[in-house]
Symmetry: C2
Subunit: 301 residues, 2 copies
């Protein structure tokens, strides 16, 4: 039995994991161990720092509830979510499909259904806007019966999940496109907001003196039979943090600005955005990944 040293310990761990029957799990864990150990060696991680990290990760896990997913928030603020999203896009995005964005920690399944042009602001109040357009396929043809899901902050920059009673849904809903693939959604003009700062990820962001804000945006999830699910978001171009999103989610092609006088605007009195979402046919192997989840579904009990 040879004693382990700082370098051989890594190979000893990987050797012990070599019995893993699932080849993908074996590959991922070996790579994880190598990079984790490389990191610890590179910074010469001390026992005190190691214990600080253990305490931090424990708090992150214990901050998770059915209404809050602090580990997704950590992944988002470390840029990991966006990286996974970009790799998935490169592997699976077809041609001219709309760019994707992060699902984020505020998505909820089974949001209420609305009709064409109705407002998702059931309880919230504030300046209104209209979002309308078409869901189209790669040939530019309208996709009927697509489900357009939207979730957004209220005019104060807060999601329903952050309200005193997070069980009531507001500022989210599902629309169905008409025979020409058209949709129209009345909503409030969203406000940029700080990520939740009362947990361990907030402590980290404060210690880094980052502003912690996301630019104002509207989350969208488009699903249609036979098409790859599209998770994206539209960002308001006049937000002061449009270039410094704390979760690195913005793409130029997703930046919009509500304005009056748009052709075909369902309500000419409201500042409006026209955005056509282009969806791609689902390939046989394509499971249609989402970088995110409804927090109540991620082991938060």
């Amino acid at each position: 039995m040879a004693d382990l040293d700082q370098n051989t310990v890594t190979e000893a761990v990987i050797a012990q994991m070599a019995s893993t029957p699932d080849p993908r799990l074996r590959e991922v864990m070996a790579s994880l161990v190598r990079h984790l150990h490389d990191f610890a060696r590179e910074v010469k991680l001390t026992p005190e720092e190691w214990l600080g990290a253990i305490g931090f990760l424990t708090r992150v896990g214990q901050t998770c509830t059915p209404y809050r997913q602090e580990f997704i928030l950590l992944s988002d603020t470390l840029g990991l979510s966006r990286l996974v999203n970009l790799m998935d896009d490169q592997a699976n995005r077809v041609g001219e499909a709309t760019e994707t964005s992060l699902l984020g920690p505020f998505y909820r399944e089974a949001s209420p259904q609305f009709g064409y042009g109705e407002s998702i602001a059931v309880h919230a109040k504030g300046p209104e806007m209209m979002l309308f357009g078409q869901v189209v396929n790669e040939q530019g043809e309208g996709v009927p019966d697509a489900i357009v899901e939207i979730w957004s902050t209220d005019a104060d920059g807060a999601y329903d999940l952050q309200a005193n009673d997070p069980s009531t849904m507001d500022m989210r809903g599902q629309f169905r496109t008409d025979a020409e693939g058209r949709y129209a959604i009345r909503t409030l003009i969203p406000l940029g907001y700080s990520i939740p700062m009362d947990g361990p990820v907030g402590d980290m962001v404060r210690a880094q003196q980052r502003h912690g804000f996301r630019p104002a945006h509207i989350h969208m999830l488009i699903g249609a039979e036979g098409y790859r699910e599209l998770v994206t978001a539209l960002y308001l171009g006049d937000d002061p943090n449009i270039g410094s999103d704390t979760v690195f989610g913005v793409s130029e092609s997703l930046v919009v600005q509500p304005r009056l006088g748009l052709e075909q605007a369902p309500d000419p009195a409201l500042p409006s955005v026209r955005y056509d979402f282009r969806v791609a046919r689902r390939a046989a192997h394509d499971k249609g990944g989402r970088v995110g989840a409804d927090p109540s579904k991620v082991a938060a009990d």
Copy 2:
């Protein structure tokens, strides 16, 4: 605003963290982000796998209680704890001091005090052994009034923290060396044991088809005024898993075997181990790190 890609996203995250005032935090986080992203790129981490990891880490955090530290267990089974321990040893171990080992997840502060030769097995029953010897300094001189802390499994391989009522302490205690630095501890012969397999780390170890066992061992923590705290453990050489510890803790110099007929054995009727622990003077800068903690102290509420 240039769109991020799989490579530039890493630099964007590090640039946003460049405002961190604490230079060490800035250095550690930049290295972490680089290695974390390198890992994700190397294995082309998919959204499904990413979400699996989020759920896994959430469960690890939520499995922690004041009596259980699942994140330390995860670090142990990934070899990270041992690596940090080895680096700390190299940086701070002086000359011929006894080698260190992992504190592990079963340490508890404020264990009961015992006199020379008394037994730590207050409730547990089983075959007994004696551990005795001296705490010595670098010159081989006995160190009087050193505190020798011990914690161990019972004869079934379980710690008090794993009992139905984990609030009662057993099989652990503190001894004080006499004027010649001598100590003697009566205890049960420990049994090798599986790490806790009913949580997410157990799920991981099972998926890797690792045996999940630690060889039989006795944890020790030696503290004396002016000396560097020594966290170590003695391993029983006849354990079948002595060469395949699931947390990579064994060093040759810490392997022992209880036997009858030892000179100076306090009780000739008991299989005994003589082990002299050599402690080193504390350097001015040396904070005396421990790779581990009492689980009730690590944000487990």
